[in-house]
Subunit: 428 residues, 2 copies
């Protein structure tokens, strides 16, 4: 294939005409497809329906430690669920608290508590003139929304194939005491699908923060969310690494079963050092009497152990993999060699990240929308919703059917080509 | 019966000796009873076990509006659950948000959001020098813990048989702009079982706050928690009253099914004006993607309508009523005429409130504890855990069996008598 920028104006004009016809053709079909969010499909959710058989009116809802799961109490979760979730988080059970249904909610509450009460005896952030967070980008829009909501200044850190640019991270963290946190999705990152390298994790664990209340917000959302049985990324466990480095209080880990069982009806978990956990439990005891132990019981008895959870996740992978590959196949076939975009083929997670030519992402997303394909807003993957180069587009292939995806991917590449040609023509 | 204070020193000494023998006798039995918290008994929880049959792997978990309850989204709750909960809260469905499992958590979050972001455009409380809450007392200890945790100054408002002392409430609210809220349990109040009179509710609705961001925290925890089918208290609906008074933004209502189905696995709800709801939903959309819709679906299909919920609550009443009456019977029989304590017989709720002689509550609770009966800490029903007259004791009869309650009540009255005699003797 010839790169577009090598083509003549006339060639591009002709190509544009053909593409516009194709575009109008697709548009005429009245599509209504949503590829905006990392939402599991109904088929994936069906995999967990047997969890609804775990409990019936004859079940004795007693936890291993004799706790009546129906009643009040047990702030940090029932033992068997803690044991299971601790394994999922690769930390000892004493380092975790089981919350409600949403890890996002835990992250919000963690920032909120730091604002009003500070972190381990340090000044509450709301009493400080300036609080800053580092935001590796492209990243997860909902992370950035939380820090924006609390008026925290966000500093964009570029992503590299091995994780955030650690030279920059180290510089900011060690030099600026206003830097209180960094958002990370360390495995199969949102949206690029990048897993932080061992070196990156070790550099994180060995940070020397200027602020004693600096924390790494380690949102390990996709820890067991592989696409391939035999080709998986490995992420070094950070709490242990921090401990080795004498930094065990420096990290909060977050996870949930939202994309394992049911989004909205899963269980979420926080993992941290014993000192952090003790402080957080003190606050939590004011906020609630306890979370949903019946759902903890239900989840534990559905999985029983990590082996079953991994098997379950391979069934999820069998549903997701063809969708990712369908999109990748179209991108490969239609865009290779044109030099109008690049993409990463992730081994897990929920997204494909597409890098368009500079200044084209917004226009591509708008063009797709006009023809009935909703994608994540361009810019959303950056702090304040502004992608400085306007290049990143997050593709979320999980929700549509494979047939819909084929149509969607075809439409997407038409939009990429059209917008790119217009861009190139404008500069010729 | 002769009042103790009319008895001679010798008579009291003799009585004391007999009571001490009885006390030692009970103490020797090695009791271990907990009457400290308003915790439903296992028998009550059994009433909701059929809710575990609502869902199985064959259920189509589609909400009325076509929403897949298993997936992300629907921030304020599925329609049918909102309709049901709105009826329970006696407000239109557009005025409610369904949350997770805990109304305490909603209250905490409401205070926390006011601290960090303010209320409807007003200055965030964390930026103010002083924030105060009015605390009708005796009241709910967990309310007071929230305001204490946020460094909010608490002002005790005495309770009367018709609710808080409204002269004082009106004075503080209209004169002091630092007064931002008041904690209320308006029906079958915790711990006294008092229901606010119509006049009280109307005076609340017609408050003229000095602070534009003053809010009534209306924790209607026991709205449907009657003890008698034919003798129930009636509480005027406050949101409607506030609306009539042109004050519709002034109240937040809280409720949950914690003491209807399962504590810890119920659904909780916030009701407020449309303007408040809109503001809160904006914040909530940053905090979470949505709450547990499967549990909303489960609750809706278990009850279907308020009629069934009321029938269900009458079954709860059938279990609770004999327990309340067992305690009341012992108090009546053993303490009437002695002038060493008074109590209210509530028509609903979870507590019996006992007023001991001044300076005796702590000693009574300690004495009961020594013999194996755990009661709510004396003082807990007041701000900062300090009951200025040391008179109030909260009795929670819901959890023990009727047999245990008989023993517990007997022990309790022995402790009341002994401590009172010591008090009277000391002043003779």
């Amino acid at each position: 294939m010839t790169a577009y920028k090598e083509m003549s104006k006339a060639e591009l004009e002709a190509l544009k005409k053909t593409l516009e016809e194709k575009y109008e053709d697709v548009k005429g079909k009245g599509l209504k497809l949503d590829m905006s969010r990392g939402k599991p499909s109904a088929t994936q959710l069906d995999l967990s329906m047997k969890m609804m058989d775990v409990l019936n009116s004859g079940t004795e809802l007693k936890g291993e430690e004799g706790i009546d799961c129906r009643n009040y109490g047990t702030l940090d979760g029932i033992k068997e669920a803690k044991d299971l979730m601790a394994q999922m988080c690769e930390v000892p059970a004493e380092n975790i608290i089981i919350y409600g249904n949403s890890s996002l909610n835990i992250m919000y509450d963690t920032v909120s508590r730091s604002m009003t009460h500070g972190v381990l005896g340090n000044t509450p952030w709301c009493k400080l003139d300036k609080v800053k967070f580092l935001c590796p980008a492209p990243g997860y829009d909902r992370h950035f929304k939380i820090t924006e909501f609390f008026g925290i200044e966000m500093i964009t850190i570029p992503m590299t194939p091995t994780g955030p640019d650690m030279d920059l991270v180290e510089k900011y963290v060690s030099e600026d005491p206003a830097v209180k946190g960094i958002w990370c999705v360390p495995k199969y990152s949102n949206p690029q699908g990048i897993t932080y390298s061992e070196e990156t994790v070790k550099r994180f664990a060995n940070l020397k923060p200027a602020a004693p209340d600096f924390r790494i917000y380690w949102d390990n959302a996709y820890n067991v969310h592989h696409l391939y049985e035999d080709d998986q990324d490995f992420l070094l466990e950070i709490l242990e690494e921090c401990k080795k480095a004498g930094n065990e209080d420096m990290v909060y880990k977050f996870a949930s079963t939202s994309k394992i069982t049911f989004p909205g009806s899963g269980i979420a978990v926080l993992a941290a050092s014993k000192r952090n956990i003790a402080e957080i439990k003190k606050q939590l005891s004011i906020q609630t009497i306890g979370h949903d132990k019946v759902n903890q019981f239900r989840h534990y008895h559905f999985f029983k152990n990590m082996d079953n959870m991994h098997k379950h996740m391979m069934k999820q992978a069998d549903i997701l993999r063809p969708k990712f590959e369908a999109v990748e196949e179209v991108l490969d076939r239609e865009l290779t060699g044109l030099e109008i975009g690049s993409w990463i083929k992730p081994k897990g997670g929920y997204f494909i990240s597409f890098e368009a030519m500079e200044g084209c992402a917004k226009a591509i997303v708008a063009k797709a929308k006009e023809a009935g394909l909703i994608m994540t807003d361009a810019g959303a993957t950056f702090p304040y919703g502004v992608d400085p180069k306007d290049t990143n587009i997050r593709i979320a292939p999980s929700y549509p059917t494979p047939e819909e995806l084929a149509v969607a991917a075809d439409l997407f590449v038409i939009c990429v080509k059209l917008v790119s040609i217009e861009k190139i023509l404008a500069s010729k």
